[in-house]
């Protein structure tokens, strides 16, 4: 019971972070316009993607993936896939920020749109590390839940 409550709280927290991050990258509410150009620039500043088209494609797709993953975390049939998505995204975010930190780049991560408060790399790593830990807990929980469902479905199909 306690475990379920903790997982529910983690699910709510992770979903809220990803939903907010995705929406803020899609739309610039302060200026009433698309936030894609600014997010494209933020991705370019990481200097990881060499192909000039990739940052644009990623800036268009990634925010919607964040929003979709946040919502489907609450859809039982897709929660395992959503937990996998948020875990992979968290790893990628950590890797990108760590790489920028290691190269001494003076950039904002663009994680929560243009208006995010600028914080040091150590704080960004800590924040994304916590997010990754929560995502991994959700992933393990969903994997176990799905594993537990397999015998039931097999039994149902046999009866």
């Amino acid at each position: 019971m306690v475990g379920k409550i903790i997982v529910l709280l983690l699910r709510l927290a992770v979903a809220a972070v990803f939903l907010y991050a995705g929406v803020m990258k899609i739309w610039d509410f302060r200026h009433g316009q698309s936030a894609t150009p600014d997010f494209t620039l933020a991705i370019q500043h990481f200097e990881i993607l060499r192909n000039p088209d990739l940052p644009v494609l990623l800036a268009v797709y990634l925010p919607w993936l964040e929003v979709t993953a946040a919502i489907t975390l609450f859809v039982k049939r897709l929660a395992l896939g959503a937990a996998t998505a948020v875990t992979v995204m968290s790893v990628v975010f950590l890797g990108a920020i760590g790489s920028a930190w290691a190269r001494g780049l003076d950039i904002s991560c663009g994680c929560f749109g243009k208006d995010e408060v600028s914080i040091p790399y150590s704080s960004m790593m800590l924040r994304d590390g916590i997010l990754l830990a929560a995502a991994v807990v959700l992933l393990v929980w969903e994997a176990r839940r799905n594993r537990a469902l397999i015998p039931n479905s097999k039994a149902e199909s046999l009866s």
Binding site: H31, Q33, A59, V60, L80, A82
Partner: protein, 138 residues
């Protein structure tokens, strides 16, 4: 594992639909999406710096004399040596520099921006996507 991957594929697919629609809509306003690292759009100049930038016109003197962005400084490849001092007089380290050329596929703005970075060691240098065409057509 297979179940996780199958669900992940579904999640990725669901996200693709709004992303495609969003991408298609934004392609219509391609000028709003910078495609190179140092490019900015007119909207970004307005929103990020409240239009408080030093405009640099990298076109020919004839085109500059005909029309240019208000208060823009002329600095092109042909007259670099004679114009660079005037540019440095106008330059303020705290104000971003935005270089423009004709627009479309012109490279003059990128060339001037590169020289500013390498020879003048100026870091806050950007290129206006769409160049003069984006400005005059706004």
């Amino acid at each position: 594992m297979i179940r996780a991957l199958r669900q992940l594929a579904i999640v990725l697919g669901i996200a693709l639909l709004p992303a495609l629609i969003s991408g298609a809509v934004q392609l219509k306003w391609n000028a709003e999406v910078p495609s190179k690292k140092d490019e900015v759009t007119i909207a970004m100049v307005h929103n990020n710096w409240s239009d408080h930038v030093l405009w640099v016109d990298a076109r020919t003197r004839a085109k500059y004399d005909h029309a240019h962005i208000p208060e823009a400084v002329l600095l092109n490849e042909d007259e670099w040596n004679s114009l660079v001092a005037k540019f440095l007089d106008a330059w303020d380290p705290d104000v971003p520099v935005v270089v423009y050329c004709d627009g479309g596929s012109c490279d003059a703005s990128h060339a001037i921006a590169d020289r500013m970075r390498s020879e003048l060691k100026i870091e806050k240098v950007y290129v206006l996507k769409g160049g003069w065409g984006a400005w005059s057509g706004k």
